[in-house]
Amino acid sequence: MKSYKILLASCSLLMVISCGGNKEETKDTSAETKDIKSMYPDQTAATDAKGVGKFKDITLPATLDSKKADAGQAIYDMKCSACHRLEGDRLVGPTWKGVTTRREPAWILNFITNVDEMLNKDPMAMAQLEECLVRMPNQNLTDDDAYAILEYMRKNDGVK
């Protein structure tokens, strides 16, 4: 029900403001979340680049775990590729190109494993929904799955 409310709100919002271009490249997130926070002052969490969820301080090794990245690719093929491209622009959801430089690792892990709460509370996730308009499906991925996907994203962004 909640999702519908936001969906409807998002639709009406669209009529008032222009949708804008490709916001994925924006480094400063305060601009992209300002409108959302003014619409839902009680609902949105404080701006936190780490997102909403159990992942807080994630430090990743400088080098790639290629086995984990391969596992991530298998999950991508089955559950993610329908909506996310590895390069180029947004398809249904944002492109994965550069996602590991745009977002904190904790934010990515929280978004994958806690998608509904993120879409309802996290200002950046909400701003993203405002643009994409399709709620990212909760694909019921485990923490291990999420780490594997993150590793595959890093590989895609050139980590060796």
């Binding site: 029900m1 969906l7 998002s10 639709c11 093929d77 089955m78 559950k79 590729s81 329908a82 909506c83 398809l91 249904v92 308009l133 399709v134 709620r135 499906p137 909760n138 694909q139 019921n140 991925l141």
Partner: protein, 658 residues
């Protein structure tokens, strides 16, 4: 002779009418019937859950409806015996085999009696079983997925009415034939030879304790009569099942007259533990038979149908101590065993009194050989020897009895349109309350378990007349909810039902709700046509069959542009829903489909067969509103002339012009 008999029956009907008038057939008005605080007792606040699940038979719609109590809200209609275009049930290639029978594809039935699975006499929340009355079948519904998992046809049966009425540890589901018919090798006999050639059967269907798989353990060959309802013994009477019957007159025509001649018909007591001994000792006879056994596999998301070829038959006239008859006035309909297992209530629908038999007295009568001769080779126990007592002047047309957790019984009275509450021990009537109108079955949650939940009784009525806004000649069917926590019953709520409700069962939501399936894991999908990710989406031609391995996710299909199909091709759309979240089905519909839509649950693969009949570009789309871009979830299929050499091609996301 004929004239005299008809006259007698007319006199009987006349008496009934007189009685009805005397009892007061017209119930109270609405204003006096509902009490002041009724609304608060059935109010389930938005976003909160009901206290109970109520599984209600759909009668001639062939389905099982799921309601919440006390709100009376309808949640779901589970397709069982009838095709359901909304869900694609019976239309998708995967579900068609569920409706296979020895007569071929039978897309409809008349479903009357749901019953739970039990462990130690208590509802265990695993399965609901329900009978198919017309083309004799029994179905098992999975309470994790709320889908029909299995349908077993019953051979040597002609109308599976007294079914399923499950035993205390779900050892057996029973199936008694409504009609007797000629059985065996020579079935082309005159209908006039009923008494000589017609037989009935009572089947005992084994339920595998872990998988729930059904198989007929044995059938009892019974004298030609009509078998009506049943109830399993429990506690002291565990190991017995009781069946009601009518037409012990063995009439073959105008049964409303000629099957109502005798003062008493029978309650049939079957010692199924004894039957098991005979089976073990090899006393059964294997009869050739042909009956379909259909099973749905949750991994392949597909049903298979196997034709079984024989059935084991036991003849109680030759095998002693297995079947006894207890006389019961008069054309008994319901037979119900109370929660203690000691009392067996017979409801003679044409009788003035309701007999209550005592299991311990029945056993003593058998030991003392207190018999009143035989009927067709079966011992008849003396009425008084098994009788605990009679409920006097309970009401008109008693049909069924349910039980609460305080030693009270509730009997539905069809002719006098009321529920009568009485005490099992002293057989005194405590209260009566009108129903609107002509109650058939009734339900107290958990009534047939050893621990009834009580609290409510629900009436399932045959007629609603002036209770709802009129909708033409056919009016809604309905149920009524009554509070039974006090000495006096109180009407709380009317709620409409779909189909015609016969029996229904109810249990606390806790037994079921936490086990409910949310989605199917895509990794576990073993459908041979699954596309597990868009990478696996493809279109393959095999002769004049075209197989489309398609995926769906919010909000597009892959592929969504397909070419190379020719007029005359059979196109199979195998659609896999890639979503892995609760409550996100996708639909699939294509213009001109001669069957229905698909409704594909998350992680599931379902297949729609579609015939290419004319040249053109045909649209297809998602029918289940899935996202803000649901209207965009669509695609095109190009159909070329039959001789065309347009090659098979398919794509998604390629938006360049030619």
């Amino acid at each position: 002779m004929l004239h005299i008999k008809i006259f007698k029956s007319a006199a009987l009907i006349g008496t009934s009418v007189l009685l009805a008038l005397q009892w007061g057939c017209k119930p109270n008005t609405v204003q006096t019937a509902a009490t002041g605080d009724a609304a608060s007792k059935v109010y389930v606040a938005p976003g909160t859950y009901d206290e109970l699940y109520n599984f209600v038979s759909g009668g001639f719609n062939g389905q099982l409806s799921v309601y919440g109590l006390p709100s009376g809200r309808l949640f779901r209609s589970i397709p069982v015996y009838s095709v359901d275009p909304e869900k694609g049930y019976g239309f998708s290639e995967e579900t068609k085999p569920m409706l296979n029978t020895s007569h071929g594809f039978v897309p409809w039935d008349d479903a009357h009696h749901p019953d739970f699975s039990y462990t130690k006499g208590e509802i265990d929340g695993r399965w609901v079983f329900i009978n198919g009355n017309n083309t004799p079948r029994v179905a098992r519904i999975n309470l994790v997925t709320f889908k029909t998992d299995e349908i077993l046809e019953i051979p040597n049966s002609a109308g599976n009415h007294s079914s399923p009425f499950v035993t205390p540890n779900t050892e057996y589901v029973v199936a008694g034939t409504r009609f007797s018919i000629p059985l065996g090798k020579n079935t082309d006999v005159s209908i006039k030879s009923y008494k000589e050639n017609f037989k009935g059967t009572l089947s005992f269907i084994k339920v595998d304790p872990s998988s729930g798989a059904l198989s007929i353990a044995f059938q009892l060959l019974m004298p030609g009569m009509d078998f009506d309802l049943s109830c399993a013994g429990k506690g002291p009477s565990e190991g017995w099942s009781f069946f009601s019957c009518y037409n012990s007159e063995q009439a073959r025509t105008l049964k409303e007259v000629y099957a109502s001649q005798r003062d008493k018909d029978f309650i049939i007591a079957v010692n199924w533990k004894k039957a098991e001994e005979y089976v073990k000792a090899g006393k059964g006879e294997k009869w050739p038979a042909r009956y379909a056994h259909n099973t749905y596999n949750e991994k392949t998301h597909s049903a298979t149908s196997v034709m079984e070829t024989e059935v084991l038959v036991l003849n109680p006239a030759q095998l002693a101590d297995m079947v006894y008859l207890i006389p019961c006035p008069k054309s008994p309909h319901g037979v119900d065993v109370d929660p203690t297992g000691e009392y067996i209530v017979g409801s003679g629908k044409l009788a003035a009194v309701m007999p209550v038999f005592a299991y311990s007295k029945m056993i003593k009568a058998i030991a003392d050989k207190a018999f009143d001769g035989e009927y067709q080779g079966l011992p008849v126990i003396k009425y008084e020897a098994a009788l605990y007592g009679e409920v006097q002047k309970a009401g008109l047309g008693p049909l069924h009895t349910q039980f609460d957790n305080n030693g009270n019984a509730y009997t539905s009275m069809f002719v006098s349109s009321e529920i009568v509450k009485w005490n099992i021990k002293d057989l005194k009537v405590i209260d009566r309350i009108p129903t609107y109108y002509s109650i058939g079955h009734l339900c107290v949650p958990g009534a047939h378990s050893v621990k009834p939940y009580g609290k409510y009784v629900i009436a399932y009525n045959k007629i609603t007349k002036d209770r709802y806004l009129p909708t033409g000649p056919e009016l809604t069917q309905s149920a009524q909810l009554y509070d039974i926590t006090g000495e006096k019953m109180k009407l709380l709520l009317d709620f409409p039902t779909v189909g015609e409700p016969h029996y229904a069962v109810a249990c606390p939501a806790e037994l079921i709700k936490n086990n409910s399936k949310k989605f199917y894991k895509i990794e576990d999908n073993e459908n041979p046509y699954a596309a597990k990710g868009e990478k696996e989406a493809k279109v393959v031609r095999k002769g004049n069959e075209v197989h489309v391995y398609m995926t769906s996710i919010r909000s597009h299909f892959a592929p969504d542009n397909i070419e190379g199909v020719k007029v005359g091709d059979d196109v199979y759309f195998h659609v896999t829903n890639l979503e892995q979240d609760w409550d996100i089905p996708h639909g699939f519909a294509i213009r001109g489909a001669n069957n229905a839509e698909l409704l594909i649950m998350p992680g599931e693969t379902q297949t729609l067969k579609w015939k290419a009949t004319e040249v053109g570009v045909i649209p297809f789309y998602c029918t289940d509103f899935c996202s803000a871009l649901h209207q965009e979830m669509q695609g095109y299929l190009r159909v070329s002339p039959s001789g065309s050499n347009v090659p098979i091609s398919f794509s998604v996301g390629d938006n360049d012009s030619e």
